[in-house]
């Protein structure tokens, strides 16, 4: 009935069919394999990649970009002089992790509420005789340690940076002297858009400055001048808040 060639073809096809069944048979069976207890993994491990990276596509890209800002600064532990200052900032982002910047502050030249209380008749201390800070300039280094995003009640999401701050600067006082200062702290930057951000910085300022307390100098009939006020090291906490624009 069949020719020699047809029988050969049928033979090959039968063989293929049997082999296919044999291959798929263990899959259909799906037997449960029991392994000895001591051969089972006792700990989990994570793969270590050569180039680990958590963020593949940043929404906010700062690398090689310039940023300018306008800030209000609060000198939180300034006892005598006005605690406000206004700052202009400019930064250059060398990469996604670091930025270098320059800060300029103009100090308010009034007195604090404590100085006003001490100026009342009972104490009669005139702190206007002491040299006040006028301007400050800083070179600032930012290390962008954390980059992330946050959801505001599932309505919208905002990107942010949490960064370490390190600065060195000079402050000009009314006595025509310039005093050095160091600053260190941490700051948040919340991106309202891809360019505009709200920035807040908390710093500890370690700075040389004239002390405004000198016996007799604040109460005497004649103003003894700025020369009687001695210099010493001060520690001041500062809180800045302002807006930055990235372009």
């Amino acid at each position: 009935m069949y020719s020699q060639n047809e029988r050969m073809a049928n033979h090959y096809l039968s063989s293929f069919f049997i082999i296919s069944l044999l291959i798929s048979a263990p899959i259909f069976a799906a037997p449960s394999i029991e392994l000895p207890e001591d051969e089972l993994a006792k700990e989990t491990v994570l793969p270590v990649f050569e180039k680990p990276g958590m963020v593949r596509m940043r929404n906010i890209v700062t690398r090689k970009k310039i940023e300018i800002g306008l800030h209000y600064g609060w000198l939180m532990t300034e006892p005598i002089f006005d605690t406000s200052r206004i700052g202009l900032t400019g930064y250059y982002h060398t990469n996604e992790d670091t930025a270098w910047g320059a800060l300029f502050y103009a100090h308010s030249t009034g007195l604090s509420t404590y100085a006003n209380q001490l100026g009342k008749p009972r104490f009669d201390l005139d702190f206007n005789r002491a040299p006040k800070p006028l301007y400050s300039v800083y070179l600032d280094y930012n290390k962008k340690l954390f980059y992330g995003k946050m959801s505001l009640s599932k309505i919208t999401s905002v990107n942010m940076h949490l960064q370490g701050l390190l600065g060195f600067g000079l402050t000009q006082y009314e006595n025509n002297k310039t005093y050095p200062s160091l600053s260190a702290g941490a700051g948040y930057k919340f991106y309202l858009t891809k360019q505009l951000s709200l920035r807040t910085d908390l710093r500890l300022l370690i700075h040389q400055a004239p002390t405004p307390f000198k016996k007799g100098a604040l109460t005497s009939a004649t103003d003894p001048g700025y020369g009687v006020f001695k210099d010493r090291l001060h520690f001041t906490n500062t809180l800045d808040i302002g807006f930055n624009y990235l372009f």
Binding site: L125, G148, F213
Partner: protein
């Protein structure tokens, strides 16, 4: 005969392949492909379909998309019961550190950031309970130690003023409502992911000052909780207290405010095993 064997061979091979597809990874892959199909719908609609198979695929995707549109929008957990199998995939964003119906104990050192006359250090203890993920109540107590700053020592020495009359805080307690509208994640130097919540708190309490009296206090606060595990977290808190007390001349009252910075650890009870 050849056709019969060839058909049997094909069926066997295809059956074997479908057996492999039971693997969960492949299921996930199928889901992803389904998602990609769904995303490619506008292209299928706009492009001119050339052959019948492409037209069939486009029709299938369109039908699937249409059926998805007809499905109810998921607004609560109960709505998940009405989802059709593999037609609508709903993603529930889980918080890494759940807080609903859990007690939180917070322990941390504390310092005052804005006192020019005293160095103020101490500790804070707080207990919070969250009724919902975003809302909770918290009671707290801070005990503080004060020492004169360099400025106050100079003021007293050079000008013989009454430093003891300058208001300083010995302790404060508060009852607050906590609102946690913000949560998110951040990466540390592109190496590690951290989950965190940002909360705001507001409440009332009392501030014990240097003369032993307790002044009614309004408390506002903001802080963040960084999850370390499902039962422990790093937390920082910035608290701003407002109260009234006598000024340095002891004749008139004035407004005072303290800014406290606390950074410590929170512990959550009971264990979050239900997620």
């Amino acid at each position: 005969m050849k056709k019969l064997f060839f058909t049997l061979f094909l069926i066997t091979a295809l059956t074997g392949e479908s057996a492999f597809a039971q693997d969960s990874d492949v299921e996930e892959l199928n889901l992803i492909e389904m998602e990609l199909d769904r995303k490619s719908k506008p292209v299928a609609e706009n492009s001119e379909v050339e052959d019948s198979s492409q037209a069939e695929t486009a029709k299938s995707v369109q039908t699937q998309s249409q059926s998805q549109k007809n499905l109810p929008e998921v607004k609560s957990l109960e709505d998940l019961n009405r989802l059709a199998d593999f037609k609508q995939v709903s993603v529930i964003q889980r918080r890494f550190l759940p807080r609903t119906e859990r007690l939180q104990l917070f322990v941390s050192p504390t310092l005052t950031l804005n006192d020019p006359w005293f160095n103020v250090y101490g500790g804070t203890l707080r207990a919070a309970y969250n009724f919902r993920e975003a809302w909770g109540i918290e009671v707290g107590y801070a005990f503080l130690s004060t020492s004169k700053s360099e400025a106050l020592r100079e003021l007293d020495k050079e000008n013989n003023t009454i430093g003891k009359n300058i208001v300083n805080t010995k302790s404060y307690y508060s009852v607050d409502v906590n609102w946690t509208p913000i949560y998110g994640k951040m990466t540390w130097l592109d190496q590690q992911i951290l989950y965190y919540d940002t909360y705001f708190s507001g409440g009332f309490g009392g501030t014990e000052i240097q003369d032993g009296s307790s002044q009614p206090t309004i408390h506002l606060g903001v802080g963040q909780i960084f999850s370390m595990s499902k039962k422990m977290a790093f937390r920082w808190d910035l608290s701003w207290n407002f109260f009234e007390a006598k000024q340095i001349d002891q004749t008139s009252n004035g407004s005072f405010n303290n800014v406290f910075l606390s950074a410590g650890f929170s512990f959550f009870f009971p264990e979050a095993t239900y997620r």
